[in-house]
Subunit: 142 residues, 2 copies
């Protein structure tokens, strides 16, 4: 897969503020949500003006699905989670982004979804960077 | 796309109890959640033993993405919704299923996600069947 044009695209400021960058896949920027409540990746397709999955053309959607699978596989391998929660919601931040959340039967929101449930919690010093580095070795970054 | 084998697959009883069937796409059964709070489709890939999107092989994932797009396009066309929320969660019902929810800026949960927010609400008599029939004309059923 080739990388896609990025003309006019820039990362939403709220997504940038809440995350640590992991790297780029051919379509998407991969971010780690800096919230210690849940190991949580966010994929952001680097094309301007997208708000819905169906704003991607068929090729873009297949790329997105392949990248979701790669990121989800890496996140599960790294965390040993019990379940993956994958979602494109975007009711608050409009820029198309896809959540991939590692869930555990003993996490603080189980079995409810994570959105809007808990105040954000900082990682202990160094821990977010450690997780980001481990994920970089498992995700086939461009 | 050809339809997939369904050996050993049957619809989860909770999903069956909560929904009205719309029909089958090549991979997935399409269900309408019988909850009047939100127009809400659910896709269930007809392969036995799946709990995660990444339990599908690459071909199955591409089929799932194409079917998500077809169902989401139909749901938005029928409802005129402001936003689509698309998610594979499965913390409670394990059988792989994908939610496609039509959201409105004035709906009862906006801007929060829908899961676990509101008690289920029955449709007025005939209305769920009317919506199901309208969606059947817009989704390219097998």
């Amino acid at each position: 897969m080739n990388s896609v044009p990025q003309v006019g695209w820039s990362l939403d400021p709220q997504l940038a503020a809440d995350t640590v960058p992991i790297g780029d896949l051919p379509l998407s920027r991969v971010l780690l949500n800096a919230d210690a409540n849940f190991p949580w990746l966010i994929l952001v397709p680097r094309r301007a003006g997208l708000t819905e999955l169906i704003d991607l053309d068929a090729t873009g959607r297949d790329m997105a699905m392949a990248e979701i699978a790669a990121a989800a596989t890496a996140l599960r391998a790294e965390t040993g989670c019990d379940k993956l929660n994958i979602a494109a919601i975007g009711n608050i931040v409009a820029q198309l982004h896809i959540h991939i959340v590692a869930r555990f039967r003993n996490d603080a929101a189980w079995p409810q979804p994570v959105w809007g449930k808990l105040p954000r919690k900082p990682y202990p010093p160094g821990e977010c960077e450690r997780l980001a580095a481990a994920l970089r070795t498992k995700i086939p970054l461009a």
